[in-house]
Amino acid sequence: MTDGPLIVQSDKTLLLDIDHPLSDECRKSIAPFAELEKSPEHIHTYRLTPLGLWNARAAGHDAEQVIDVLLKYSRFAVPHALLVDIAETMSRYGRLRLEAHPVHGLTLVSHDPAVLKEVTRGKKIAPMLGLQIDDETIVVHPGQRGFLKQALLKLGWPAEDFAGYVDGEHHEIALREDGWSIRKYQSMAAEGFWHGGSGVVVLPCGAGKTIVGAAAMAHAKATTLILVTNTVAARQWRDELLRRTTLHEDEIGEYSGAKKEIRPVTIATYQVMTMRRKGVYTHLDLFDAIDWGLIIYDEVHLLPAPIFRFTADIQSRRRLGLTATLVREDGMEGEVFSLIGPKRFDVPWREIESQGYIAPADCVEVRITLTEEERLNYATAEQEDRYRFCSTTRTKLKVAVALARQHADDQVLVIGQYIDQLDALSEELGVPLIKGDTPVKERERLYNLYRSGEIKCLVVSKVANFSVDLPDATIAIQVSGTFGSRQEEAQRLGRILRPKADGRTARFYSLVARDTIDQDFAQNRQRFLAEQGYAYRIIDADEVLSKDSD
């Protein structure tokens, strides 16, 4: 027994004892092939998944290395069956290759005729394939590159794509590092992506994913299509690109509900791409409008399903996915892997936090006791109304206001889901509210005021969840949220995790009504945040209110 820092469980989870002297070394060794599942204070949990192992294969690690690492750091003997399983899984990646054949075009190649035979027997796969040239080579129908990769992954035989990319139309793009410089991990991420060809870069919120995108564009030096979640995000990408690169305003187009510009660098929203008229996607032509050399997907974990389908069609173009998490709530991780590409770069949140690029956060759950009357009303409310009821109680409003007042000197965001509640809060606090129907212009004006510090407090609905850059928010107060979704939690935390000038700790309050369904959701939130390694504590609303009366 080596007394190492790692415990390998038979359910393929790895427990890393981070108080162990070798833990750092071990973390670095296992990071390439194991997915970090949670990172609370003492023991971090990693998981071995086929996708993770294949990601490692794609990054050039082989099974022997993986097994060596496990054996080296493991505290207890590792079950042999697990090692065999790892070797078996990893050996599946790359057994099939997609290659460009000088005569036959796209071909599926394997040096293992048995595997080739097995996959070609599949009902779904057979129609995508054409003539078998020899024992090891089969022609793939043009246009099936993406669908074939998807189908092969489902069969457990992920194909390595060596079919290459089109260069796209050349366009000069370079980074313009005046007054700022690209961080090391950002340039490593861009390079990792470029050498891999296509793939996903995983960086926490606030770690500067836009710059990674810009750096990738500088590598490609080609026309680029950027797909983002919404219009605000599109504008931010544009601003950022103008600031960080040699691109000029007339080189960047916005393709959204409002504008339909097609320029060498075009930023389009998911919404407009998935817009349908009479069942037909009307804006698909954009993918062919220019001979794109690079396609960037922002927030890959939110990529809508139809976009995957379009993506399958454009496999010969370089694709870069950017995200804070590979976890998709719809479980479509496999699609990301096969269609956009394997993970090319990954740094855990904590590592970037410790480098000072994102602020440490302190999560506080404020427990609110409902009044007798509220409790009775809650008890008698219809099941479907209960969540709304408990998360919008009058008492909660009182506490939120008190909290916001206590932090009058900080940049505060009050976040909620229910518009009535937000209206009331905005009125009570006397601060502006940003919600779905706030015009983009007005939103930007308010954000600018907030950034400059003229406004200290903003009330926002969930529209603010994604891709809004609010650099100086130090306090977030969440009054209500949709059913404890992990995604949303990560995004909200992302809001306040941008680095603070003075290194202050950001604080994330969530208000929870005691003994209600709200508290159940809070438990999910607590688990998620604690798993991510954030300090989490619970205080009583009375503490807040008594402080207020002082």
């Binding site: 038979s10 427990l15 023991i43 042999h80 069956a81 989490y536």
Partner: protein, 719 residues
């Protein structure tokens, strides 16, 4: 073939007691039951089933030599055998003689007749002797294609098909004419033995391996192998427990044909997080061990033996399963194989004879070659050499796979525990298991990690207040509202839980967990539920009071729950009887509303009935062999007298003769009538006569027996 001048039985008769004993040791089937005499022994030793058994114990070298002898003209001298094979044949020939597959006739060897049938019509692919003149020089002038025909038939089979011998192609016709081929019937030609031997260059086999092939493999450190094996052992035992628990919760339904359905197997495999073939293996072993059974209603359920199993130490659990693995004739590797889809785990089609012997052979091989993870091809060829009739490449693979799952091996090499199991030594598993830990680490996400195996007490204590989330070397527990509530249900208070956790946790208790415990314990018990078997209600509160104070009703232990309701622990029918006896007039009420349910742990009603095990006949112990040889010799002497008719004597003559022989202390043969009147001859040493009975030692049994004088039909001296 010359006619033998001596029979197999005659030769056996000439063997010494030690040699016969050796024969019994090598061929245990000959001793059960003990043959009456040498003739019977020879007949049995020459019987097909016994020969097949004997053949199974031969290695490839011995078998090839036996085949060689069959291909030669009997009797064969050792020199001849060695010239056809190699000098090393001497030992093998001796072994073949010892096991009774050869016998000697004037220093030359013969085979018992049935061996030819067993070896087959064409030993080593050689056809019959032609006994016609064959001139090999003529081959020089052979027509085109003739030699090719011969070449193709040289290494067997020696049979060739033609459309019609009479209209055969010119080359074949030429070969027949020149006696190089024999026309067997109108469509078959045979290659005569002499021709084949000519082309084989005087050898019978292309190449014979006189020594066991090399056992090769990857070198492993014994320590590493043992470590890996320990991981395998603890994992396997956990699988076994998990599977039992899982099937208790969701019992699979047995197929109509018996056995476990593919879907249930898949589900189980997913639950355990292992491959299906591994799940089938675990299920099979539990089934063989009687830990699970197909119940009368076709549900597959754990038995009460499983409960006993759970209380055992890992070493005991493992031992009970591993021993069965070695012994069982069931081959779980057959489950779900592509070619045999219908073969189900726990089904009736898994028995394969010789499995156990093959397992023992393989494990023994691993023990002989420690610190080695065998190369598959190497161990397959070794097995094929050692046991050519039993070897099956697939079985070898499966057995190695199962040995690894079980922890007989670790990293492919034999573990100390596997070796000890084979030898029957102390296993020493408990000492090798990782030291139990006595603490946990609690984290802010309401999980707790025991960084090693917990002591049983701690594991049980934590198990009541937390759910297990991940198992392996360590255990991950999760605290939740439900798990804390379970702890409170077990009678702990919130403070006790907190104190307990603070005591065993190496890390400070996270504040949110304290909140959780406080929250749950605050709400716990607001609603009170009690247990009672019957209730009694009455709108007349006065009557209720009267009942409460009625001395005669005291044994019923009535308790007042509300002004108009009493409850009691006795069953409602007993309550009614008691009330009636005391003179009240109660009426039974339809029982609705009160439901008491407890979690049911399902167990089969039937007794464990593990599938039967086809075992090999085990080697008899020396005492048995010695007595068998003695009985055989006695039977021999008796039968040698049998041919002689014993002259009938009258009762008086008999008595006189007996007295005479008792004095002479001579052995006698007597005719003795049994109760049915049948007369048999007995060889005896008379001792005394009393009360019309002769007391004598019976040679056949070696025991003192009583013979009634009137039943003795005749007496004559032995020899």
């Amino acid at each position: 073939m010359s006619n033998p001048t001596i029979s197999f039985a005659d030769e056996l008769r000439g063997r010494t007691d030690d040699q016969i004993a050796m024969l019994f040791t090598l061929r245990p089937d000959l001793i059960s039951p003990v043959p009456t005499d040498i003739t019977a022994l020879a007949a049995r030793a020459n019987s097909m089933p016994s020969l097949m058994r004997a053949r199974e114990s031969l290695n490839k070298w011995q078998f090839d030599i036996l085949t060689t002898i069959c291909a030669l003209q009997e009797p064969v001298s050792l020199v001849e055998i060695m010239s056809m094979t190699s000098k090393e044949a001497k030992g093998a020939v001796q072994a073949l003689w010892e096991i009774g597959l050869l016998y000697l006739e004037n220093e030359r060897y013969r085979v018992p007749t049935n061996i030819r049938t067993m070896v087959g019509e064409h030993p080593a692919g050689l056809g019959p002797q032609s006994n016609k003149k064959i001139d090999f020089a003529e081959l020089e002038a052979a027509p085109k294609g003739a030699t090719e025909v011969l070449q193709r038939m040289v290494w067997g089979p020696p049979k060739g098909q033609v459309a019609d011998v009479k209209k055969a192609a010119p080359n074949v016709r030429w070969l027949i004419e020149k006696n190089f081929l024999i026309a067997f019937d109108s469509q078959t030609v045979l290659l005569p033995r002499e021709v084949a031997m000519h082309f084989r260059g005087g050898k019978i086999f292309k190449d014979m391996q006189s020594a066991q092939p090399l056992f090769t493999g990857v070198a492993r450190k014994q320590k590493a192998a043992d470590l890996a094996a320990i991981a395998n052992i603890s994992t396997f035992v956990r699988w076994a427990e998990e599977l039992g628990h899982n099937w208790s919760d969701e019992p699979p339904a047995a197929l109509k044909t018996g056995g476990l359905g593919v879907r249930d197997l898949k589900r189980t495999a997913e639950h355990l997080g292992i491959a299906e073939n591994c799940a089938a293996f675990v299920a099979e072993l539990l089934y063989i061990a009687g830990l699970i059974v197909i119940d009368t209603n076709d549900q597959i359920l754990p038995t009460s033996t499983f409960d006993v199993f759970l209380t055992r130490t890992i070493e005991e659990q493992w031992h009970s399963l591993a021993v069965l693995w070695l012994e069982t004739s069931r081959m779980s590797g057959l489950v779900g194989k592509a070619e045999s889809k219908s073969v189900a785990a726990l089904g009736p089609e898994l028995d394969r004879g010789g499995t156990s012997a093959l397992k023992k052979l393989i494990v023994a091989l691993l023990v002989e070659n420690p610190e080695k993870d065998p190369a598959l091809d190497s161990i397959k060829s070794v097995v094929k050499w050692l046991a050519p009739t039993r070897a099956n490449d697939e079985y070898v693979e499966w057995i190695l796979r199962e040995a690894e799952w079980l922890g007989i091996t670790g990293q492919g090499a034999i573990s100390a525990f596997g070796a000890a199991l084979l030898k029957g030594d102390d296993l020493g598993i408990e000492a090798a298991l990782p030291k139990p830990v006595d603490h946990i680490l609690i984290q802010a996400d309401n999980s707790a990690i025991a960084p090693g195996p917990l002591t049983l007490e701690l594991a049980n204590a934590i198990g009541t207040i937390a759910d297990i989330e991940s198992r392996g070397g360590a255990s991950v527990y999760r605290f939740s509202e439900a798990s804390i509530r379970r702890g409170l249900d077990h009678g702990q208070t919130g403070d006790q839980i907190k104190d307990f956790l603070k005591k065993i946790s190496k890390t400070p208790m996270p504040q949110p967990l304290e909140y959780l415990i406080a929250d749950v314990s605050k709400r716990h018990g607001k609603l009170r539920v009690g247990h009672n078997n019957s209730y009694l209600r009455c709108e007349d509160e006065g009557l209720i009071q009267e009942l409460l104070h009625d001395k005669r009703l005291e044994p019923l232990r009535l308790r007042k729950l509300a002004p108009q309701v009493l409850i009691s622990d006795v069953e409602s029918n007993e309550l009614i009887i008691a009330l009636r006896e005391a003179g009240y007039l109660p009426a039974a009420e339809n029982a609705t509303g009160i439901l008491i349910s407890a979690p049911t742990v399902r167990r089969a009603k039937t007794r464990p009935k593990p599938p039967r095990v086809i075992t090999d006949i085990t080697a008899p112990n020396p005492t048995l062999i010695t007595s068998a040889v003695r009985a055989l010799r006695a039977g021999e002497r008796a039968s040698s007298h049998k041919p002689r008719d014993i002259p009938r004597t009258t009762a008086n003559e008999t008595l006189d003769l007996l007295h005479q022989y008792i004095e002479e202390r001579a052995s006698l043969t007597i005719g003795y009538a049994d109760t049915n009147g049948g007369v048999s001859n007995r060889l005896i040493d008379p001792l005394s006569i009393s009360l019309g009975t002769l007391v004598a030692r019976d040679h056949a049994t070696g025991e003192i027996a009583h013979f009634r004088i009137p039943r003795i039909t005749g007496v004559s001296p032995a020899n």
